[in-house]
């Protein structure tokens, strides 16, 4: 990919994997974008037809409308050949059932669930869900960002994957403004996934020059987020959660 050649991206030499995403809300949407940017094959199951249409319009992925906790629909979506199932629906109970069906019936190697109530973490882990996306922690970080616009949000934490999705908004004095992504000293295993600029979403390449007001979503290895933030917006991050 262009971005890999031009940027400082040194992702692991992963094979293309097939990832089935259940739930196409905000988290699902950004997840699809990220996974496609990494070159993976992705498909989505979402119950709301309008949300399905939006995803199908924006991305080149297969989208199925329906109940992602239906074993029949999961089978139709190719769950049996999925390397990973990520369930990011709005209700914890649905995400748990999706992951258990994926793991125990379709023998999916890796299952990831969104949880809204942190008290459910123990149950999900004891039921064999491999990784959890803790939305409550993410929201707490978003509130932090409202208080300090220069701070960076851990938009999405995949605890066992050690990947963190981070969001940063560039201000006039951010050191990356006016520079091409390829020239930035980003830490290894970092990818800029999307830029929201003047209301439209752009997929950046190494040649993309960053501008004031850009809202950037990046994925990096856990532990590198402070460095990513430093390169993009300058100041040191507050203590991370």
């Amino acid at each position: 990919m262009e971005r890999r050649a031009g940027g400082r991206v040194q992702l692991e030499k992963d094979l293309v994997v097939y990832i089935l995403v259940v739930g196409g809300g905000k988290i699902g949407y950004h997840l699809v974008r990220t996974l496609l940017a990494e070159g993976h094959e992705v498909s989505v199951i979402e119950k709301d037809l309008r949300v399905c249409e939006q995803i199908a319009d924006h991305f080149d992925v297969m989208v199925q409308t329906g109940d992602g906790t239906s074993p029949r629909l999961l089978a139709e979506a190719g769950c049996n050949r999925a390397d990973c199932v990520v369930s990011v629906a709005g209700r914890d109970q649905d995400n748990l059932v999706v992951c258990q069906i994926a793991k125990e019936i379709f023998k999916v190697n890796r299952t990831i669930a969104r949880i809204n109530d942190p008290r459910n973490e123990e149950l999900f882990r004891s039921m064999g869900v491999d990784a959890l996306i803790n939305v409550t922690a993410a929201v707490a970080n978003m509130i932090d960002q409202e208080i300090n616009p220069k701070s960076m949000v851990h938009y999405l934490t995949m605890q066992h994957g050690h990947l963190i999705m981070v969001e940063a908004t560039l201000s006039a004095d951010s050191p990356s403004v006016g520079r091409a992504i390829a020239g930035l000293e980003l830490p290894p295993e970092t990818i800029l996934v999307s830029i929201l600029r003047q209301g439209s979403v752009q997929v950046p390449t190494g040649n993309t020059v960053l501008m004031e007001g850009d809202e950037i979503i990046a994925v990096t290895r856990s532990g590198h987020q402070t460095e990513v933030k430093h390169v993009l917006i300058g100041e040191k991050a507050p203590a991370t959660r």
Binding site: Q93, L96, L123, M127
Partner: protein, 134 residues
């Protein structure tokens, strides 16, 4: 002590039946109207809340229960409530209303006793029709 999650039509019948047979019964439901309807006849403990919430289950004294029954209309909520009761609150017998046959098999392996009233009723009606010839 028997605790029932979900007191729509089925759960209400069950609660009153068991109470009528002298059992101590507690019920949980997120819908105030369901609890009010049941409360006109029911004497036992009533807790408003969702059965997947450990704090709600604890308030309904599920830890002391010999049997937990999840019969709300939502199978996934029933499944998760049953798993919490079984694995975390150590309830000896856990019954959950699950309709999908694949999920019935899956959760039976987790020690949950599944019931499928819609599928069972449909089968019974079918048998009733066919037994007298059509």
């Amino acid at each position: 002590m028997i605790v029932i999650f979900g007191v729509g039509q089925m759960g209400s019948h069950l609660a009153l039946q068991l109470e009528g047979e002298g059992q101590e019964v507690g019920v949980i439901d997120p819908d105030r109207h369901n609890l009010e309807n049941l409360g006109q006849e029911f004497k036992g403990l009533m807790v408003m809340g969702l059965g997947i919430d450990r704090d709600v289950l604890t308030r309904a004294r599920v830890r002391e229960a010999s049997c937990f029954v999840a019969v709300s209309r939502d199978p996934n909520t029933n499944v998760m409530a049953a798993l919490v009761a079984k694995t975390q609150l150590k309830v000896p017998r856990v019954i959950a209303r699950i309709e999908d046959p694949v999920l019935v098999d899956l959760y039976r392996r987790h020690g949950i006793e599944p019931i499928s009233p819609t599928a069972d009723a449909a089968r019974e009606i079918g048998d009733m029709i066919l037994s007298r010839g059509c």
